[in-house]
């Protein structure tokens, strides 16, 4: 086993543990703790990207998700009434439905992994590449999905501003 494999298993294990702690923390029902574990999950995933030599993706993952999106999450959570949330019990129906959906997704994933060809497993990682080649790709081959996504974000932004305005004329 190479050093890189060891790092992969360490980061993968940490990702899974932190992800479980986000939704099923046995010690605390505090939403802030869940949010902080989500930040840790994101950081561990950035570690996995680094192992794939996708440095740009790793940096952006931390910059956007851990650094901006989760800070806003925390901001909103801290302004909510947390006492009620902490007191709420886990409902059996909800837990059951959650387990079923997680199981279904896991089953699908396993099926895909088992049936897919294993030819690419030993090939060199294809994610490696400079930031400029990523940019070129985004603005040439994938320009339509890229522009549609930005339109979607714009719509969401306008929607938020409209919703947060109190007196609509």
């Amino acid at each position: 086993m190479q050093t890189q494999d060891i790092f992969f298993y360490v980061f993968a294990l940490l990702t899974v543990i932190c992800a479980v702690m986000v939704v099923a923390n046995p010690l605390s029902r505090n939403p802030v703790t869940s949010a902080m574990f989500l930040v840790l999950t994101i950081v561990c995933m950035a570690g996995l990207f680094v192992l794939l030599h996708a440095f740009f993706l790793a940096a952006v993952q931390i910059l956007v998700y851990a650094g901006a999106v989760m800070v806003l999450f925390l901001f909103v959570i801290m302004l909510l009434d947390l006492k009620e949330e902490e007191r709420r019990k886990v409902k059996i129906v909800g837990a059951g439905l959650g387990t079923i959906s997680v199981g279904a997704v896991a089953f699908l994933l396993f099926r895909i992994i088992l049936t897919s060809s294993k030819g690419a497993a030993n090939a060199a990682p294809q994610l490696e590449g400079s930031t400029s080649s990523l940019g070129t790709l985004l603005f040439s081959k994938y320009v339509l999905p890229f522009e549609i996504l930005s339109l979607l974000l714009l719509v969401a932004m306008v929607g938020v501003i409209l919703l947060s305005k109190k007196d609509l004329k």
Binding site: V32, F56, A59, V60, G67, A68, V71, L72, M78, T131
Partner: protein, 368 residues
């Protein structure tokens, strides 16, 4: 003896040697930055005293050196030993944890503030070569993105400190901080995009080499620099943007409930952030370790130890200028109101930065 050591060194192999040198560099940088932090606190107190027509710290004397004629009293008057006394005091003071705080977050928040500040320094090239070693700990190809990512993590320390303290003023400080940091991070990130349009690389070392060939980027992207330095003040929570801890309205904001070494960690985090911001400005806009004359703009060869040391000296000197600017401005300007802060960030700097990107891109396109 020496041959045995050389054999041991050769036996390490490339990976082992890399690890050894990285460790040496990290230890040296850590020591240097901690000394810097201690003495910038002294500089802050002395400069503020000068601006307000006071004397500043001039009492701490060491037993033996203090009794040397002329030099001893001179050093004491300068306050050279004050950081030692401050450090000892921070360690020895009672570490009081109020009963109502959220313990886990209360303990972890100072560390979360302090660590990202140091991580930023890992990618900053503070010299060219010393011997065969490149004077940067991690020569990343996405150096600048790494820096911004880590800086954006720094906000968690302050927000969690505010949340963990579980009382009014720290909480308000934490909330303010999160909104302020996110707002100015955007302006800061957009401000440096023209720099990369001009250079075409994200690696900080290559940005310096480009400046050595074509001149400093401050002349190419002055608007970027203005936005960057103002945003840096906001990101490091320094006056005129120290809304998260504004003493006059929020007692001390997020660090109201902290004492002794935990408070000192926040304090050191703030100064390390200032050092990191100064280093970033030197690297991005002022040519890093280069000077345009005396042949100092070329990387040192393995045998040229003196030139390697001169490069480190140049970098530190440039950085110190920015540290003094940081300190000077703190004592010259009043604090912004919160709505003014948000207005400046979102309605002035954001459009300005976008226009700046557009103009730079168009100029580069026309010239190509």
């Amino acid at each position: 003896m020496i041959s045995a050591l050389t054999n041991l060194y050769d036996g390490l192999g490339p990976v082992g040697q890399f690890a050894l040198w990285s460790f040496v560099k990290i230890a040296a940088l850590f020591g240097a930055v901690m000394t810097f932090v201690a003495y910038s606190v002294l500089a802050e107190r002395k400069i503020s005293a000068f601006i307000q027509d006071r004397v500043g710290p001039n009492r701490v004397a060491l037993p033996l050196i203090g009794s040397i004629p002329i030099i001893g009293p001179f050093l004491t008057n300068l306050g050279v030993w004050q950081p030692l006394a401050d450090g000892v005091k921070s360690f020895l003071k009672e570490d009081f944890t109020p009963s109502y705080v959220r313990k886990a977050y209360f303990w972890i928040a100072p560390a979360i503030t302090f660590i990202p500040a140091f991580l930023v320094l890992a990618v900053i090239p503070f010299g060219s070569f010393l011997g065969e070693q490149k004077m940067v700990i991690a020569d990343l190809n996405v150096g600048i993105l790494f820096t911004f990512g880590i800086i954006s993590l720094g906000v968690y320390g302050i927000v969690l400190a505010g949340y963990a303290s579980n009382s009014k003023y720290p909480f308000l400080g934490g909330i303010r901080s999160s909104a302020q940091m996110i707002s100015y991070e955007i302006s800061m990130g957009l401000a440096v995009i023209p720099v990369f349009l001009i250079v075409g690389k994200l690696n900080l070392g290559e940005i310096i080499l480009h400046q050595a060939q074509h001149g400093w980027l401050i002349f190419y992207a002055p608007i970027s620099f203005v936005i960057f330095i103002v945003s840096a003040f906001a990101e490091t929570n320094r006056l005129p943007f120290d809304l998260p801890e504004s003493e006059t309205e929020l007692v001390a904001g997020y660090n109201t409930e902290y004492s002794s070494m935990k408070f000192a960690l926040f304090f050191m985090g703030e100064y390390t952030n200032m050092i990191a911001a100064s280093a970033m400005m030197v690297v991005l806009f002022f040519g890093g370790w280069t000077l345009p004359f005396g042949g100092l703009d070329q990387p040192a060869q393995p045998a040229e130890w003196l030139r390697g040391l001169a490069h480190i000296g140049i970098f530190v000197a440039k950085m110190l200028v920015f540290m003094v600017i940081f300190i000077w401005i703190r004592w010259m300007l009043p604090r912004f109101r919160y709505d003014q802060l948000m207005d400046l960030g979102w309605r002035r700097f954001l459009p300005l930065a976008l226009i700046n990107i557009l103009i730079t891109a168009v100029v580069l396109w026309l010239r190509s």
